[in-house]
Assembly symmetry: C2
Homo-oligomer: 456 residues x 2
């Protein structure tokens, strides 16, 4: 076994030198993503690619030897999709990280896959432009990883997910051939949509080595609305009312356990007898008009308190409460962070189910998320050193997934299927559909070396 | 040959009765789409499907016998993609046309493929909702055809194309298996994006039998801006200026030959010494603010005349000029309508090239289109009974395609590749990419019965 496995690594080291790491100590940092209960394997090497040539060499060698390859960006994934595989190569893009070009007039940025989301956003902002997708991990996550998982964020409510902001992708196929997908035009219907097929494919079809992302003009006006409700059900009623009359860019929800945890950590002094908090942001030339409509929507369903500000600094400070929701909950134990999406009208039922599941399994579940998209992150807080608590956490997770499916929901709104949710994929998409997906994978990757056993 | 070919039709007639048509006179209406210079074959039958079962029976029979199947909606295509194939079956969805359900709260409509775009829009409007995609042929074209070609329209400037408004698709594979793609949630990243793969695949992968389309609230406010320019170059400069400060839903361009033709037909009295006309619509709560910014953008680059109205009826009347552009040009001869897209910044070069090509081949070319998307429809007007003129029209078409490619454009923004543009596909997307597309087709359609030789 070892005899055959030293072959590819010896060859790769000859080709790529110190980009190939086999030292156990260094490799430890590349074994896992940020998910808690996902399995990670024992890889034979980590390749820290810096160029397309490095990726081509890695894939052609791995393909020849039939060695599995897991591509990872910053490892901020939450579904185990970039965890190492036994006997595989971890292909890291963290050093493949230059912003190649920003075309101000065309409003597009061409980047290598390891560019950090926040770095791209900052570079765009200097030019008065805006890279919109803003996953919670934007300070560290990479554009390559964002594309692989079709990452979302808070601004999706109005502006859509990563998929809605990509113009072109350059990617390497397992046999080393390079493809360029998409176009820099606004509209293009020539041929099959390979771009949208690669987005969200979680490293199973090809390795992204370059992407051209669309930017928007930075909105000049914004307004923030904070509204406190007696119950999550009231907050969801407000979301429904708001969606009918306005198009806010951000509509974030936090429930009581989340509010309590955030208060404890930040001393923000949010009313923690509240059943729920909505944080809403409107932008664009009608920001104030829209914020007023949101305020009315909240008051109309009996909000306890509503505060509106057009001061950007105050708005940012208010949004901070949502941003620290996960770290605040993590102070209370290990967290199993879920990511589910239901039709907005089914949010009350999903939220009822979460409360019921928390009670059933005697667990703290803090729920926050992107309410206008019906995308929730119920976060199970438990003691991972206690086998019984861990078993209850798993059961609660399972019950939430099943309830989500029964409500016509999606098992993942923005984190991906990865390792963690594979068993829910077929119940969601169907057996024939999964077969079609696997046939497509086979068309790209006939030897099945790219992230095998993951996502699909 | 006839012996083997009567097999499938005899079987299908036994299964589907009068849904199967072999009468030559009736079949004539199903041979061609609206494109002029595309080739159409001689089919063995037309199946006018009314149900999913009809489609399943047609595909399984055709697949067993290896008979090609061309699916068509209303036949309003402009690239020959739904023209009949020799020895094939034309599968028409025109009678498969019920609006199954409109969910007002979730703002989604579930329809059969033969539902006419305008009928869906009208049904939505009765509920205060808006089905956005508005191709020029919306009075007759079908949602199935819109999905197959990823049809655009005027409102794409702000709201995107058909692909941006579809939640779920139900489709039949060539072997008769049924797939459901997508989700009714706002966000969903579970598995590969089969929905976006089917959209724009021009009937080469599967046959769409049902679709759930997203609706928006009907905007309450709108404002229309009409601006007259001395030259197309000035008009494009205005488009660039406008894009930086506003997000109009419609930005339509017409050049002098188009203005002259429209005036002749409608007696609208547009200044036909103008080099170009822009028709702009803004909507939403900031409609007036945005319209004012558009007006300033036009004046800033030296527009001859700018007129703004917030009266919806007047706005509609002004937009009519653009809507009749093609019929107005068609009064002057046969028309070869092109559909190309360039990055907006390259519009001046593309428009210069069109003028130069018109001069070179002594042809009238009227150009109109969706300026904010860089999507132009240069329309070659010529005498199709004159072989020399026809040859020059072909050459001009070819020159425009090549110039578009050289400018980094797309060979089709919204009409599709079909029959007409196949030879430009590989130069645009690349040989490896085309190979990948064909491998994907093979995964769906191993016997190659679905629209063979078209699109990819």
């Amino acid at each position: 076994m070892t005899g055959t496995l030293t072959g590819p690594i010896t060859e790769l080291t000859a080709l790529l030198g110190d980009a190939v790491v086999t030292d156990r100590q260094t490799m430890i940092g590349y074994l896992r993503d940020h998910s808690l209960l996902s399995r990670a394997g024992d890889p034979i090497a980590v390749v820290r690619a810096r160029t397309t040539d490095h990726v081509v060499a890695t894939l052609t060698t791995a393909n020849r030897y039939g060695v599995p390859v897991v591509t990872r960006g910053a490892g901020t994934g939450l579904a185990g999709g970039s965890n190492a595989l036994d006997g595989g190569i971890v292909l890291s893009t963290e050093r493949f990280d230059r912003i190649l070009h920003i075309d101000e007039q065309a409003r597009m940025a061409t980047v290598e896959p390891g560019v950090v989301n926040g770095d791209l956003a900052a570079a765009a902002e200097k030019l008065g432009l805006w890279y919109v997708p803003d996953p919670g991990s934007r300070a560290t996550c990479t554009i390559g990883g964002n594309l692989a998982t079709n990452a979302g964020g808070a601004c999706c409510a109005r502006y859509g997910v990563t998929a809605d902001h990509v113009a072109r992708i350059k990617a390497v196929l397992p046999d080393g051939r390079i493809i360029h997908t998409g176009a820099t035009t606004s509209k293009n219907v020539a041929g099959l949509n390979l771009t949208q097929l690669l987005v969200g494919s979680e490293g199973t079809l090809a390795v992204i080595v370059e992407a051209t992302m669309r930017l928007r003009p930075k909105p000049v006006h914004s307004a923030t609305v904070v509204s406190v409700f007696s119950s999550v059900v009231d907050a969801v009623a407000a979301v429904v009312a708001i969606r009918a009359v306005a198009e806010p860019s951000v509509v974030e929800l936090m429930d009581t356990p989340t509010i309590v945890a955030v208060n404890e950590m930040t001393r923000m002094g949010i009313d923690d007898t509240a059943g729920a908090l909505l944080l809403i942001r409107c932008d664009g030339p009608a920001a104030e008009i829209e914020a007023e409509r949101c305020e009315q929507g909240c008051r109309g369903v009996g909000a306890r308190e509503v505060h509106v500000t057009t001061d950007p600094a105050e708005g940012e400070a208010l949004m901070e409460a949502r941003r620290v929701a996960l770290p605040a909950l993590q102070r209370h134990g290990s967290t199993l962070l879920d990511d589910l999406a239901v039709p907005v009208m089914r949010l009350p039922e999903m939220i009822d189910a979460i409360a019921w599941i928390a009670e059933r399994y005697h667990l703290l579940i803090g729920t926050f998320g992107h309410a206008a998209d019906g995308n929730l992150h119920p976060t199970i807080v438990f003691d991972a050193t206690d086998p019984d608590a861990t078993a209850r956490a798993y059961s609660a997770f399972d019950d939430m997934m099943n309830r989500c499916l029964a409500l016509g929901g999606s098992i993942t709104g923005e984190h991906g299927v990865g390792e963690l949710k594979r068993r829910y994929l077929e119940p969601m998409v169907g057996a024939v559909e999964l077969d079609v997906m696997r046939q497509i994978k086979h068309a790209f990757d006939p030897k099945g070396i790219l992230n095998p056993g993951r996502a699909i």
